[in-house]
């Protein structure tokens, strides 16, 4: 009572915190993690643990010895980057490649810009794309699904649905298998069901808003739907677009990254439509069978511009 604290209003805080949001996203990723452990077994476990440990360790070492900054490894963002990086890798990737990916994600894409909040591009995606360009063969050789498999590097491999279609094959899994995740692919991207459960959780906890995932889904369905309607023999159906590759993972977890996405609903729609269009364009006419990562990174680059020009709806702007 002798010493009262003086500070300006407001005097209460809602109790939200960076670590609550980060752990919230990690919890939302648990269903997809369980699905990947089921479909890919030991390989998924090794890749996930390696990526998380490597990302946290690299962030700690960089803060300790290079920038001597505030310790932020406990906020959960490095672990989240590791988890998302792992989700974007095949489950038979050698450990040394994962380490390189983690170093690029944390060191180059995040810490060199000043740590959490300052990175212009999604760190996990930068790590993944770096690996994809450096090791194109290893990054596109996917283990086939084998429930609770004990294989890691020696897992049997197969092609993803999108690369099959890209090569002109039409022997693709059933819609139900694609929805549940019973198909080759990056370890966290296969199960649309598990990822959608994560989306619902994040919406309920108000960690993200619906604008970005929904705008991406709508754009992909409309754009690919028009193409499919024009010529179903040449173009992939909207359903396959939606359920295969990294679209679900990208739209729900990668594009919604706080730091690299726009700050108001109007901007989020522009960003989401951009990602949807670019994804379909790359998948349909590009050299790569999959384009979600590139689409998100390109739109990350536009985010500051969107924030500069697109303002939220001001109070009293349009009197109804």
């Amino acid at each position: 009572m002798e010493k009262l604290i003086i500070s300006p209003a407001p005097h209460i805080h809602g109790g939200d915190s960076v670590s609550k949001n980060m752990t919230g996203v990690i919890i939302a990723l648990v269903p997809a993690l369980l699905a990947s452990l089921y479909f890919f077994g030991m390989g998924a476990l090794i890749v996930t643990v390696t990526a998380i440990v490597a990302c946290v360790l690299f962030e700690y070492l960089i803060q300790r010895f290079l920038i001597k900054g505030e310790k932020t490894i406990l906020d959960g963002s490095a672990a989240l980057t590791g988890l998302l990086l792992a989700f974007n890798l095949p489950s038979n990737l050698p450990i040394w490649m994962i380490l390189i990916g983690a170093l690029v994600a944390i060191g180059v894409a995040k810490m060199s810009f000043g740590g959490l909040g300052n990175n212009p591009f999604n760190p996990a995606l930068v790590g993944r794309v770096f690996l994809l360009i450096s090791f194109p063969v290893e990054m596109t050789t996917w283990p086939v699904v084998e429930p609770f498999s004990m294989n890691y590097l020696d897992a049997a491999t197969g092609a993803t649905v999108l690369s099959l279609l890209n090569e002109g094959s039409s022997a693709i899994p059933s819609a139900k298998d694609m929805f549940l995740g019973n198909m080759p692919g990056s370890l966290g991207e296969v199960s649309a069901l598990a990822l959608l459960i994560g989306l619902v959780y994040m919406l309920i906890r108000k960690i993200i808003t619906w604008h970005i995932p929904v705008s991406i889904f709508v754009t992909v369905i409309v754009f690919s739907g028009i193409l499919y309607w024009v010529d179903p023999a040449t173009y992939i159906s909207p359903l396959v677009h939606l359920l295969t590759g990294g679209l679900m993972l990208g739209a729900i977890f990668m594009a919604t990254d706080y730091v690299t996405s726009p700050m108001n609903p109007k901007g989020m729609w522009i960003y989401g439509v951009g990602i949807g269009v670019l994804t379909v364009v790359i998948r349909t006419w590009g050299a790569y069978p999959e384009g979600v990562s590139f689409a998100i990174l390109i739109m990350n680059g536009f985010t500051p511009l969107i924030n500069f020009y697109v303002k939220p709806k001001r109070f009293g702007e349009k009197v109804k």
């Binding site: 003086i6 300006p8 209003a9 407001p10 005097h11 959490l116 700050m263 108001n264 939220p312 709806k313």
Partner: protein, 443 residues
């Protein structure tokens, strides 16, 4: 259920003193009645040392149109006219009176009879409100007679009564509605007459169902008054937010409510208008809440102006152990007090104790650009951007991004997961930009 359409938060309500009867606070031995107001010019003292005054006697004369008269809240002898540290944190002029008895001016009607008839003209009502020194009791303490005299060419269509009490903890308006509902409705009809409007809407958040049903029942005997229950959402008590919630019109940037046809009065002010017009009682006391999580006795008191807060707090059981901060007003917009030796002013709605651990802000982290501040801002601004601009002295950019629209509700700082002091920087920028605009207009 209606509410405003942009942004908003919902802090824990913590209305511990809800339902506690309004008690008359003891009259202290000495009062220091502030002559300064939150807005407008300070009044000029018209008494001098040694003068004997009665309760209700005018002691400060309004200085200009946007200013209000000040009246003695006690009877006794003027001790001195001096500066006094008040709840604003500044030393400002006040009239110090040594109390002797409790002798009221004979003109004040002290009977408990509720007088519903008012045969005065519009001009007579406004004159009485002005003479009684009535200011808005919602926080900004804007003189009531100014609001009753819209600028030429502007016509009010509807009177909105702010009975929202959206600040957590505070219950003084709630309790006043329960105990003095009829007087308030008479006050509403008087204000309707003064403004020449046929319609009045009382906006009450639906966390006060007893007040809603009480007033609804009473309103059946009054013409043109409706009660509008509102969804609980902070800052619904903001004037522009309340108008949006109740009549779905948004006051444009830099304009005043009457330009969309609305005039807003706080429910406490409405009660004061009733007392001034029907009972000849000037504004010299108000209801305030004394509360806090550890408050020994959260309660509502009717307190004479100029009473030191320490005197009120003592009657409510004293300051609890482990109090780290004491706030004059509510937790979202109130001011933290240096000590309790500050006098009660017309705008003092409460005394709130915060625990030690609640008083200290958590460490600031990097902005993670989660955009939660943007989504809660009730004015549709970008707090993260305004803070960054303020840190870098980017005044023209801040003006272009509408810093002057900020109502300082604190929703952004309340929400920020990185505990960033958004409003601190925005307030600083707003003050600077406001100065730049005034200089530019003066040229």
């Amino acid at each position: 259920m209606k509410t405003f359409r942009i942004g908003g938060v919902h802090p824990a309500e913590n209305k511990f003193s809800a339902g506690k009867k309004i008690q008359q606070a003891e009259i202290p031995k000495m009062v220091a009645i502030p002559l300064a107001h939150y807005i407008g010019n300070p009044s000029e003292a018209i008494v001098k040392k040694g003068d004997l005054v009665k309760v209700g006697q005018m002691i400060g004369q309004a200085n200009g149109f946007v200013s209000a008269n000040v009246h003695a809240s006690v009877s006794g002898k003027v001790n001195k006219i001096d500066v006094q540290l008040d709840a604003s944190g500044y030393k400002r002029p006040a009239v110090f009176i040594d109390v002797d008895g409790d002798e009221w001016l004979e003109t004040i009607d002290r009977s408990p009879v509720i007088n519903r008839e008012c045969n005065l003209t519009k001009e007579e009502i406004i004159k009485k409100v002005q003479d009684a020194g009535i200011v808005g009791l919602g926080g900004a303490t804007f003189p009531a007679h100014v609001k009753l005299s819209p600028p030429p060419g502007k016509k009010a269509e509807v009177l909105i009564i702010n009975a929202v009490e959206c600040e957590p903890y505070l219950t003084c308006d709630h309790q006043l509605m329960l105990e003095c509902g009829e007087e308030i409705l008479v006050g509403v009809s008087i204000l309707m007459k003064a403004l020449g409007v046929e319609k009045a809407i009382i906006g009450i958040e639906n966390n006060k169902p007893d007040a809603i049903s009480h007033l609804k029942q009473l309103a059946t005997t009054f013409k043109g008054i409706t009660i509008e229950p509102l969804k609980v959402q902070y800052p619904q008590g903001g004037e522009k937010q309340l108008i949006d919630a109740v009549i779905r019109r948004q006051v444009p940037s830099g304009r005043i409510p009457v330009e969309v046809g609305a005039v807003v009065f706080n429910v406490g002010t409405t009660f004061a208008v009733y007392e001034a017009v029907q009972k000849n009682k000037p504004m010299f006391e108000r209801v305030m809440t004394v509360t806090g999580k550890d408050a020994p006795n959260p309660s509502n008191y009717r307190v004479r102006l100029g009473t030191y807060l320490a005197h009120v707090v003592e009657q409510a059981g004293g300051v609890p152990e482990g109090t780290g901060k004491i706030i004059g007003g509510g937790p979202m917009m109130g001011r933290s007090l240096m000590n309790l030796n500050v006098p009660m002013a017309k705008g003092s709605a409460g005394v709130l104790y915060m625990r030690d651990e609640e008083s200290i802000r958590k460490p600031v982290q990097n902005c993670i650009r989660c955009s939660k501040c943007v989504s809660v801002c009730p004015m549709g601004l970008e707090p993260y951007l305004l803070m960054a601009q303020s840190e870098r002295n980017m005044w023209p950019e801040m003006e272009a991004d509408r810093v002057m629209d900020c109502i300082e509700c604190g929703s952004c700082s309340y929400t920020c997961p990185s505990n960033r002091p958004l409003l601190d920087y925005i307030r600083y920028g707003k003050a600077t930009v406001g100065g730049i605009i005034r200089n530019r207009n003066a040229k």
